[in-house]
């Protein structure tokens, strides 16, 4: 498995993402069979030149006419990677920030998907940009060049500003009208509490939604002792506190948040995987893939 500290020293994101992808592939017994989507569309009366093998013999038996089955164009899976690039995702005093960790995971997934011919899009959620909540967008494609574009976009991403994930998810829904796999990488630290409804809404549009909720180990354990002035990374809020005195309360709040998120989204059939940035990304992805395969 790839230790995040080691991974952080591997240089550009391309290298890190590839390493993760290789780790994932090594861990899989066989390649994932992201099957081609072949969906029946309509019947039409046979006309010369149509493929005889497409004649629907059952319809002929009933109607005594030749009908030819027409199909949707055969296509690969579409996957939208939504990476939260808000200020809170820039936190991380270990090997990687949450955003860097999310970028590695997203990059590795982009590699994996593109490798099997699936189309991958990237949406960087954050402030600014042409659309509300969208700092950058790379449309669906599956070519290696496209993956490099995705990785570049990820590498250049900087965590800043408030979380506008709901707006970004709206945008993602617009850009992927057809049923697609939407993988959201975020800490879901949203002061407005609108992110979870937005994820539910996405799911209600028949998107396959997967949330990789990423947190730093310090956010989970709150290991501080000295009096600290905590500064918000998304706005100008700040608070002075004695961490030892509020640790219990903080941890309870955090547990309630994680638990609540998991419960709420599970109820809406959104898969959630909660990850700490000190976990090896390849193992995280491997477990994710294994679970989806089993499902």
């Amino acid at each position: 498995m790839l230790d995040p500290a080691l991974l952080a020293r591997l240089g550009p994101l391309q290298v890190r993402a590839r390493k993760v992808m290789e780790g994932v592939l090594t861990g899989l017994h066989k390649s994932p069979s992201y099957g081609q989507a072949v969906e029946f569309s309509e019947h039409k009366e046979y006309a010369p030149g149509d493929e005889i093998r497409h004649i629907d013999w059952r319809a002929y038996a009933k109607l005594d006419k030749y009908y030819v089955k027409r199909f949707e164009m055969e296509t690969n899976l579409r996957a939208m990677l939504v990476v939260d690039a808000s200020g809170s995702m820039a936190y991380g005093r270990g090997a990687m920030t949450k955003l860097q960790y999310a970028a590695v995971c997203a990059g590795a997934l982009a590699y994996l998907l593109a490798r099997q011919g699936d189309q991958v899009a990237l949406l960087l959620a954050g402030d600014g940009g042409p659309h509300a909540g969208v700092r950058g967008f790379v449309p669906f494609a599956s070519s290696p060049t496209h993956v490099q574009g995705v990785l570049r976009e990820l590498e250049n991403a900087a965590g800043r500003g408030p979380t506008l994930l709901p707006a970004a998810l709206d945008f993602a829904a617009e850009k992927a009208p057809r049923r697609a796999l939407t993988i959201v990488l975020s800490d879901l630290f949203d002061a407005t509490d609108a992110s979870i409804p937005a994820l539910k809404m996405l799911r209600s549009r028949r998107h396959d939604v997967l949330l990789l909720q990423i947190h730093d180990r310090e956010e989970l354990d709150f290991p501080f002792d000295d009096p600290t002035r905590f500064l918000s990374m998304e706005d100008d809020r700040q608070i002075e506190a004695q961490p030892r005195q509020i640790r219990e309360s903080y941890l309870a709040e955090m547990r309630a948040f994680l638990e609540g998120t998991r419960r709420e989204l599970a109820r809406a059939d959104v898969e959630v995987q909660q990850i700490a940035t000190d976990a090896p990304p390849d193992r995280v992805l491997l477990e994710l893939l294994a679970r989806r395969e089993a499902a």
Partner: protein, 718 residues
């Protein structure tokens, strides 16, 4: 009582300045937290909102506990104590060499309820000893007796165990005390300690009699110059309350003729030292266990009253006691009773042998003797019977203790023999007076060895009635005034004996019994009164007449007492001078009877009392110093024999009456005597007396500090 806070080491109070530390730390923590950009600030905000009030309270509590911890430790190091307001004058900073002086005088036996002042004072002294600081040397002295400390007072030391033992073993005495002398000695002892602070704590009843206000104040000797005034604290064992007391201050015992033979009246002097008069106080007279008389007396406040109780006492040595009714509430029980000893003479029966009876009473030879021995004059103690010589010769001598031969012709042999037997075997006394019927040679023949010395011839110094008879008559010259016959004469009364004129008397031959002893002689040197001893009895030979025939002595006032004494002496029933009582604390010489040795002296408790001899092989002894009041019996023994009681040597020891007066000394005068209010104080308890300590608070403060530390730890860990 108002109390005052003092500190033994006030310099440590600067430690309170360290309070600034937690405050600075608190403020520093408040103002300089470490900034940290944090992703999950939302949860921090929510937690802080929940806990904000509690946290602020906790921080204030933490600050308070830390401040309390520092303040408590600093104050505890300064060793604070609470002292009564009155104690401030004698307070001194720093350790003090301390002398604890415990009054063990008689007055400390004063009882309030069931507890004596001494017991209270001893408890206070023990508590005071416990309260002394570890750096304060101390010494203990038990103040009793005129010498100040009964067994001295040592230099201050740190041997608390030994000092505690001395205090615990201390017992009240029956002696008076000289508190002034004790304080002076204690101050001197304190001079041997290098500790600069000096303090004397005396536990006493502050009775005025024990303190000499005109004495110089106690000074601790200093090598650099004049002495240093110590802090003197007098702890009042009575705690300021009045100590009323009724005491039996004197008992006088004298014969009472109105009560008949051996009738005595006992005059008890009852003093009331209280401010309230006492009425109906019962006085009892006891001989042995039997109460012979009771009476009641009213005693005015601060006054005295006498109560006379009469009783007929048994002959011999009577041991008696006068007692006052005990006051159950309070009082000094020891002075409510007084023992006394009376040597009660036995009755005497005398046979007067009238050698020249006369129908004219005044001419009768026995007239003056009978008059002198008349019951009215002897209190009935002497019964006399007069017979003429013939009748006497045939009478039995057994009932008589004494026979007086007055101008009797030479007695027949048989009578003389009867006399000799009675004198030598039975101890009967014989008095021989001469006269015209006496022929010296015939007398010598008839009486033989009954005569102390044989008669020689008769001498006429002057013819009675002659012109110059007064001048030529013989007078008594040398008289043994110390003899029982004459010791009743004081210097003023001797004239009555010396002025008697004797016209005719017998001269004695120089030879005679070895025991013959001339008690008086005439101015020409001729014996006038000679004592002889025969067997168990005594014989007195008067060389002149018992009537006015040869002398005018019978009409002199000195004749009657000498004759009465002579009869009593011969009958061994002399009314002895009553033994004088001894004083507790004094010594008393005890003279051993001839041929015997004073073996031991038993105190009132029946145990041997202290005794010493001036010389190793001396028979006499000196009893004392007498420790307890009451009857002291003396045991004598032959040189190598077993000891036995000699009641005639017993004596009574009396208490010092001034100890019964428990009126307290005036406090202001006392302070002035001790060096002024700046260095002396009077306190009600030893707690108040601990000049530099008072009620110690440091242990409590340390406890507060420890609790603050625990509280701080608990709060910090949460």
């Amino acid at each position: 009582m108002l109390e005052r806070l003092t500190f033994a080491h006030p310099a440590y109070l600067w430690g309170i300045a360290a309070l600034a530390l937690p405050i600075i730390v608190h403020l520093f923590n408040q103002r300089r937290p470490r900034p940290l950009a944090f992703g999950a600030i939302e949860f921090v905000l929510r937690s802080q909102r929940q806990k904000a009030r509690r946290l602020r309270l906790r921080q204030i509590l933490l600050l308070a506990l830390r401040c309390l911890l520092i303040a408590a430790v600093a104050c505890a190091l300064a060793r604070p104590s609470l002292k009564p307001r009155g104690a401030q004058t004698a307070a001194a900073v720093g350790p003090q060499a301390t002398a604890l002086v415990l009054d063990a005088s008689l007055s400390m036996r004063y009882r309030i309820g069931s507890r004596t002042l001494f017991e209270k004072a001893r408890s206070e002294a023990l508590a005071a000893l416990d309260r002394l600081g570890p750096d304060e040397p101390s010494t203990v002295g038990i103040c009793a007796g005129a010498a100040g400390f009964a067994s001295g007072i040592g230099a201050p030391s740190f041997d608390r165990i030994a000092e505690r033992r001395v205090l615990q073993a201390a017992q009240p005495t029956y002696l008076p005390s000289d508190m002034t002398g004790c304080l002076t000695a204690a101050a001197k002892a304190l001079g041997e300690s290098p500790v600069p602070g000096k303090r004397i704590i005396a536990f006493s009843d502050l009775a005025a009699h024990s303190i000499r206000l005109d004495a110089p104040p106690p000074l601790v000797p200093s090598p650099k110059g004049p002495g240093v005034k110590p802090n003197v604290v007098l702890v009042d064992a009575a705690q300021g309350s009045d100590l009323p007391n009724a005491a039996l201050t004197a008992v006088a015992v004298r014969p009472s003729a109105s009560l008949g033979p051996r009738g005595y009246e006992v005059v008890a002097t009852v003093s009331n030292f209280g401010a309230q008069p006492i009425s109906g106080l019962q006085v009892s007279l006891k001989i042995g266990q039997a109460t012979l008389a009771k009476g009641f007396v009213d005693v005015p406040a601060r006054g005295a009253a006498k109560k006379t109780l009469g009783a007929v006492l048994p002959p011999g040595v009577a041991l008696g006691r006068v007692e006052l009714a005990r006051d159950d509430a309070q009082g000094l029980d020891e002075d409510d009773g007084q023992d006394f000893i009376v040597h009660v003479p036995r009755d005497v029966k005398a046979l007067v042998v009238d050698g020249s009876p006369s129908s004219l009473r005044s001419r009768d030879e026995a007239f003056f003797v009978e008059a002198a021995l008349a019951p009215a004059r002897t209190g009935g103690r002497i019964t006399e019977q007069t017979l003429d010589a013939d009748a006497a010769a045939n009478a039995s001598l057994d009932p008589f203790d004494v026979v007086l031969l007055l101008n009797v012709p030479p007695p027949p042999k048989a009578f003389a023999e009867k006399l000799r037997q009675a004198v030598s075997k039975r101890g009967m006394g014989l008095f021989i007076a001469l006269g015209d019927h006496v022929d010296p040679d015939a007398y010598n023949d008839a009486l033989g060895d009954l005569m102390p010395r044989p008669l020689h011839l008769l001498k006429t110094a002057a013819e009675p009635g002659a012109q110059d008879a007064e001048d030529r008559a013989a007078r008594f010259g040398v008289i043994e005034w110390t003899h029982p016959l004459f010791r009743i004469f004081g210097p003023a009364e001797r004239e009555g004996l010396e002025s008697a004129r004797t016209y005719r008397y017998a001269l004695l031959k120089p030879e005679g019994a070895q025991s013959a002893h001339t008690l008086a002689s005439f101015d020409d040197g001729a014996p006038a009164l000679v004592e002889g001893r025969l067997g168990l009895g005594h014989v007195l030979l008067y060389t002149s007449s018992a009537s006015r025939v040869w002398t005018d002595w019978p009409i002199r006032v000195s004749f009657l007492p000498v004759l009465q004494q002579a009869v009593s002496y011969l009958a061994s029933a002399l009314e002895e001078r009553q033994p004088l009582p001894a004083q507790v604390g004094d010594e008393r010489p005890v003279a051993a009877p001839q041929g015997l040795v004073v073996a031991q002296i038993l105190g009132p408790d029946g145990k041997p009392a202290p005794m010493r001899r001036e010389k190793q092989d001396q028979a006499d002894a000196v009893a004392g110093p007498i420790a307890a009041p009451g009857l002291h019996r003396v045991q004598v023994s032959p040189p190598r024999g077993a000891p036995h009681d000699d009641p005639s040597l017993a004596f009574v020891a009396l208490l010092d009456a001034k100890e019964s007066d428990l009126r307290r000394v005036d406090e202001s005068e006392l302070k002035a005597q001790l060096g002024g209010a700046g260095s002396a104080q009077v306190a009600a308890s030893s707690e108040a007396a601990q000049g530099s300590h008072g009620t110690p608070l440091w242990s409590g403060l340390l406890l507060v500090g420890v609790l603050a530390l625990l509280g701080e730890g608990a709060l910090t860990r949460r």
